[in-house]
Symmetry: C2
Subunit: 132 residues, 2 copies
DNA sequence: TATACTGCTATCCTTTTGGATACGGAGTGA
DNA sequence: TCACTCCGTATCCAAAAGGATAGCAGTATA
């Protein structure tokens, strides 16, 4: 899993005083961010973690429908992005806890923006389908 | 392509005074929003459209690497979400123009949030890889 | 002794997404 | 007439994402 993406190429014309280069430079961080939150399970897992579900099997129950394979992979991704720390306690048997980091909270602005937009979009679509 | 998603199920515990139901209700709009901006080409196309590339072949040149098949499909999606209108002018041969709607600008807050977060994330990762 | 739970990994399979290539009719220019 | 552009569609394929199932070592429980 790559964390930084390559520069995509878009367009040739300036826009609002931005050169092509500036536009595509804007695109890269956007795609980095999207990479981090998109996919079927990333946000459900983060939400489950916020609700203090910390252990693997607990998470698997909380995020209904996810398989161990996928949960394991997603947790590794979240760890790599430093949203989660994996703590191993030498009990018998070992206890493993996944905890959200302070850094994971920086995502809040993104999540809120997505949420607000999504909410009005959903309402818009429902109204539209009513009309039809 | 579905526009509204099903309610996902996550977790069982309350969090910050929110019930389970409230949490998952938050998730739905987020996933609606993600649905609209994620994928390889959606944002590059929107950016190209903002730069006044309106015609099909123009878009295909502007968004380098996209094939006609995929561009065609993405434009249909964008139309369905009411980000784009397809206008047909009865010239000979017909001229077809894709134009962004005013509604497409409501995405700006989301795009900016993604951009800002992505930018600092990228810097964070670059610093981290320097240290190693 | 048998069964179950924990925290996974391995293997294989399906679905989704996107890419390659070819082709289409209609028009335009040499 | 030949070649080229425009705006796509159709068919087939490859890669990525995700799902199903099985298993495993260690411990606890019945």
């Amino acid at each position: 899993m790559e964390v930084l993406l390559e520069e995509p190429e878009v367009s040739t014309r300036p826009h609002r005083g931005l050169t092509k280069k500036e536009c595509t430079q804007h695109l890269m961080p956007i795609q980095d961010a999207l990479y981090v939150v998109s996919g079927k399970w990333k946000l459900p897992i983060i939400i489950a973690l916020r609700e203090r579900n910390t252990r693997f099997s607990e998470l698997q129950r909380a995020v209904t429908g996810i398989t161990a394979r996928v949960l394991s992979k997603e947790l590794k991704d979240l760890e790599q992005n430093e949203f989660v720390v994996r703590k191993v306690y030498p009990t018998t048997p070992v206890t493993i806890e996944y905890e959200l980091t302070a850094y994971s909270e920086t995502l809040d602005a993104v999540i809120i923006a997505l949420h607000d937009w999504g909410l009005q979009h959903r309402e818009r679509i429902l109204k539209r389908t009513e009309r039809e």
